[in-house]
């Protein structure tokens, strides 16, 4: 699968938010100024037009230490992507870089992916067509696939000056991450590498300074049973059932026709 991953070491992040602006700069995303949030954080979460948000969290740890935790919140590009699974139009797919991309032409804006997303990332953007009629498209970070194809790194990684965001070969990065984790644990005892195997890992791996729940991330996300039931059983079964019933009906029609020649009268039912 992807031999490159995006690695986010939040302990190196100094909150300059170049990533937020670089993303909009490259993807020509419109600005969405929000109401005053009560903190330095500009958006409550990522939206359809704001594909990464720098979260600020004034966290008083149980051991009394105070940390001001920053996180580059963005799509994690899960290997087992719940959004891809939920999409009825097969509009969401994995590229060879491991990035999960949404084909805007196929997306019908039904929002299944929005409900399904494990990390509450993908959202719907509303557009107006020529006749002024509104339509919606699901949008989220695509790991700058257009840049990756030209051999360039994602725009946020290119802008990040403390090397908190890096995009490099998977094995070297993860090895480096383990070493970094050992160093960082001294100040951040709960630091951990967040690459949840419940969804077979992600193409955007985090080194968090505290437990995932402190960042509002699920401790160990899995593809929900409901999605599995839905897409691996219900959907195929439904289609199969549809096929079976039609076959049964066709079978019935044929066999009735055959039996008819044998003189069974209509209604074929006698009673005792």
């Amino acid at each position: 699968m992807a031999d490159y991953i995006k690695f986010v070491d939040v302990t190196k992040c100094d909150g300059c938010r170049a990533c937020m602006v670089a993303c909009k700069n490259w993807n020509d995303l419109p600005e969405e100024p929000q109401d005053f949030s009560g903190s330095y954080q500009s958006h409550e979460k990522v939206t359809a037009n704001t594909w990464n948000v720098l979260t600020f969290n004034e966290h008083q740890r149980s051991d009394g230490n105070f940390e001001w935790l920053f996180r580059h919140q963005s799509c994690l590009h899960c290997v087992e992507a719940a959004c891809e699974k939920a999409c009825p139009e097969d509009a969401i797919s994995h590229t060879k870089f491991g990035s999960v991309v949404i084909d805007a032409d196929k997306c019908v804006g039904c929002g299944y992916c929005v409900q399904g997303c494990t990390f509450d990332v993908v959202e719907l953007a509303t557009y107006k067509d020529k006749y002024g009629k509104e339509y919606r498209k699901a949008q989220k970070c695509d790991l700058c696939t257009s840049r990756l194809e030209e051999g360039l790194k994602p725009a946020c990684v290119t802008a990040c000056h403390t090397d908190c965001l890096i995009y490099d070969e998977k094995d070297t990065v993860l090895a480096e991450a383990e070493k970094r984790l050992a160093v960082v644990k001294e100040r951040f005892p709960n630091a951990n590498i967040y690459n949840p195997q419940g969804i077979k890992g992600t193409t955007s791996v985090y080194l968090l300074a505290d437990k995932p729940s402190v960042y509002g991330l699920p401790e160990n996300p899995k593809v929900p049973l409901s999605q599995i039931v839905w897409k691996d059983y219900a959907q195929p079964l439904g289609k199969a059932l549809f096929g079976v019933t039609t076959m049964a009906v066709v079978g019935a029609v044929i066999s009735t026709a055959i039996n008819k020649e044998k003189g069974g009268h209509e209604g074929g039912q006698d009673h005792e």
């Binding site: 300059c16 909009k24 009560g38 001001w68």
Partner: protein, 787 residues
């Protein structure tokens, strides 16, 4: 900066005090992070827990305006525990100098104070000299009158308990910081101090920096890799504009402006006054004459004292600095104001009152990219009544940095060229073009005037091409300077002459444009060593990247320690070698009697632990800010005795009884200065759309304020409304005998642009530093209540 950005990675300990580089100089953290990765320790000292503090290993909280107490305590700690670099202090600083007996220090006051004039007679602090003027020294540093002992005695009063009682820092953390930073005194170790407006914008701003210099000299941190006293300057070319003398008291290259006094009535008299007997400044006449030649060309002759009298002479002793300028405007003495990319209605102290004074102007010219609060001070939006304001305003649209060509000098003194990517937007023009067109129009007007008053305009040469757009290359050549006869570019300021045969617009830049070409355009980013990048652009002076780098070697020219090699004497080659341009004549060896000392600019070449140059004393002494919450614990002198007061009405003083909360202002990484260039950009207006004030949870509870409430902040000078951001990153101070709250707010906001909000500077005091007159934005008193 004495060093530069890439050099930060070589530091063992970085102390960031009075600065917030993670937010205001974000990319510096690329190199600070590298320093941390090499095992370096980062200390953040700030009234507020900033993004820099989050990246730091140690965070020390301190009340705004108590830097000298904080650093004074560290100096005392370093001296008491003998952590200082003995050989460095003995040989490279003026620790051994003896001071005359007329010097004394009693209860916060130095000798020689004149109450009326609020100034000192500095001769009282002079060094003791023998009959032919040579300074007497005691190399053993034992003599009670030697600088070392005087300093020891002075700072012995800064014991830890008194200090933390004034600064409010946690005692254990304070000792930890002293120990960690003190460790850089060890040979081979390097500590760097990064500071910015948090240090300078006080009534004791200059002495704050002096205390850093003393600490760094004691620890032997000046002139070495990863060391230095580094000012993080806030604008792309504030370094350049200061170098080019756009200040009332400086002409280019930090040379003095003449005054209307008997002494200065002749050029020679003026030169004798401003040229010291020793130190590199002895060459001032060469630089000054060359500058005059660049102004007046052939009209500057030996006979008319090279056009010396064409330059304006200041009224003797009169202060023309920014705040006094607005005092004059308030009194109606100013008729015209020219603003080139400047927005005082948001950036100036007591901005509301300054904005009112603008209406006393007859005319104003504003040159900017966006409509600024200052250029539209007459509009209803500004709270003004247009009909009653008779000022005629002309707004000239300037173009952006990448729509024109030119060079800017960054904090590390790198003069970097930048090219034009696109033609100016609409009808906007480059400032170069605007001043060129204006100058040609004025020259034309005064061309055949017979009035002697117009002689300067007629004598001023302006030959940068005939059409609207000037030939920038000619301007660059003139700045560097050339031989008047051969028109050949001068190789370096060493070749400038005082006989009028050479010209140079700015001596410190002389050498950036030799015959081979404009070195500021160089883009070779190979790292020859020490990350000095000698072939990338050009650093003044003489492309030197680390100032006073002679101090990186011991007395016999060898590096203090193997793992920090700077410039070393290579006996075989007979010259100094290393990855930087030596700070002195390359071929003068360590044993050359005529040259011994690294601090080439100062007479005697020794680092100034004791300096007679400043107005309020040879050694830094803590005084409380203009508006302070508690009495001075170090002496009975409350306020800096040498600070001059300006216009009374411009500077009402708030009393702690009415305004109990300490307040400060600061900047954010998402906005810039008065916000004119960022609050009009959708991308940045989205990141920080609202003006806010950060208050501690404790203060919020006391005042019944919830997060995101609208609140009023008031001071003796004004009141503003903004959102409350209740945070854990401000904590009340437990000072000697009371608890004091502190709040802080960004000062970027104004009523123009996309993201608009209240202007913090409506609250700040209109009083400034005793030497530089920089306003005291960083420490004043206010009160807070719910809207």
């Amino acid at each position: 900066m004495t060093n530069h950005w890439n050099d930060l990675q070589h530091a063992n300990v970085l102390m960031i005090i009075g600065a917030n580089p993670a937010e205001n100089h974000p990319i510096s953290f690329r190199w600070i992070t590298k320093a941390k990765e090499n095992g370096g320790k980062l200390i953040s000292v700030d009234p507020r827990y900033t993004r820099t503090s989050q990246m730091a290993d140690m965070y020390g909280q301190l009340r705004s305006g108590t830097d000298i107490a904080f650093i004074g305590g560290m100096i005392n700690y370093v001296l008491e525990n003998e952590l200082y670099h003995k050989e460095y202090v003995a040989n490279y600083t003026n620790a051994a100098y003896l001071v005359t007996d007329t010097y004394s220090f009693e209860d916060g006051m130095f000798s020689g104070y004149d109450e009326g004039k609020r100034s000192y007679d500095k001769t009282k602090w002079a060094f003791k000299t023998d009959e032919d003027g040579k300074v007497l020294t005691d190399p053993t540093l034992k003599d009670p009158n030697c600088v070392f002992q005087l300093m020891k005695k002075h700072f012995s009063r800064y014991d830890v308990d008194t200090v933390v009682g004034v600064t409010g820092t946690d005692k254990k953390m304070y000792l930890d910081i002293c120990k960690t930073y003190g460790s850089t005194g060890e040979v081979g170790k390097a500590g760097t101090i990064l500071y910015a407006m948090g240090t300078t914008q006080h009534t004791v701003g200059t002495q704050n920096i002096r205390s850093y210099a003393i600490l760094q000299l004691l620890l032997g941190n000046i002139g070495i890799q990863g060391g230095g006293v580094n000012a993080l300057r806030g604008e792309s070319n504030v370094q350049g504009s200061t170098d080019f003398g756009l200040l009332y008291n400086n002409v280019t290259g930090y040379m003095k402006t003449p005054e209307a006094t008997e002494v200065d009535s002749t050029y020679q008299g003026f030169l004798d006054r401003i040229t010291p007997k020793a130190g590199y400044w002895v060459n001032t006449p060469k630089f000054y004459t060359s500058m005059l030649k660049s102004f007046y060309g052939d009209n500057a002759t030996k006979e008319n004292e090279f056009g010396y009298h064409y330059i304006p002479k200041l009224s003797a002793g009169k202060n023309y600095s920014f705040m006094r300028l607005f005092d004059a405007m308030y009194r109606g003495e100013l008729e015209g104001l020219l603003l080139f990319g400047s927005n005082p209605a948001v950036g100036g102290p007591n901005a509301r009152q300054e904005k009112e004074s603008l209406s006393n102007l007859k005319w104003m010219v504003a040159v900017d990219l966006f409509e600024t609060e200052t250029s539209s001070f007459w509009q209803k939006e500004a709270g003004a009544d247009p009909a009653s304001i008779q000022t005629e305003v002309i707004f000239l649209p300037a173009c952006a940095s990448f729509e024109k060509e030119g060079s800017v000098t960054n904090s590390g003194r790198w003069m970097q060229y930048r090219w034009q990517a696109i033609k100016p937007k609409g009808e906007s023009k480059a400032d170069l073009e605007i001043v060129h067109m204006l100058a040609r129009k004025l020259k034309d007007y005064y061309k055949n005037s017979s009035n002697p008053a117009d002689l300067p305009m007629k004598a001023m040469t302006w030959d940068y091409g005939e059409h609207d757009h000037p030939d920038i290359d000619l301007v660059c050549r003139e700045i560097n300077g050339y031989d008047m006869k051969t028109k050949k570019q001068v190789k370096g300021f060493g070749d400038l002459k005082d006989d009028g045969s050479t010209c140079s617009g700015n001596w410190i830049y002389c050498g950036f444009y030799p015959e081979e070409g404009n070195l500021s355009k160089r883009r070779d980013s190979t790292n020859e060593g020490m990350s000095n990048f000698l072939n990338w652009s050009y650093a003044w002076p003489a492309n030197r990247r680390i100032l006073y780098n002679r101090a990186s070697a011991d007395l016999n020219g060898k590096a203090w320690s193997k793992d920090r090699v700077g410039i070393e004497w290579n006996a075989l080659e007979g010259k100094w070698m290393g990855h930087d341009v030596p700070d002195f004549v390359v071929t003068k060896g360590p044993d050359d009697p005529t040259f011994k000392d690294p601090f080439i600019m100062i007479a005697g070449g020794k680092g100034a632990i004791y300096s007679t140059g400043l107005n309020e004393g040879p050694l830094p002494e803590h005084y409380e800010p203009f508006e302070n919450p508690m009495l001075n614990s170090f002496s009975s002198v409350q306020f800096n005795p040498a600070v001059q007061f300006g216009e009374k009405e411009m500077n009402p003083q708030g009393d702690v009884s009415k305004y109990p909360i300490v307040a400060t202002t600061y900047r954010l990484s998402e906005h810039w200065q008065s916000g004119a260039m960022t609050r009009s950009l959708p991308g940045l207006a989205e990141l920080v759309p609202h003006m806010f004030v950060e208050i501690s949870e404790e203060l919020a509870k006391e005042k019944g304020i919830k997060n995101k409430d609208k609140i009023f902040v008031s001071s003796a000078r004004g009141e503003i409304e903004a959102y409350a951001m209740v945070t854990k990153r401000f904590k009340p101070y437990k000072l000697k005998d009371k608890t004091v709250h502190q709040i802080g707010m960004p000062w970027h906001f104004g009523y123009k642009g996309i993201a608009i909000g209240a202007t913090a500077n409506h609250l700040t005091p209109h009083i400034g530093d005793a030497n530089s007159s920089i306003p005291e934005y960083k420490a004043f008193l206010c009160d807070v209540r719910r809207a």
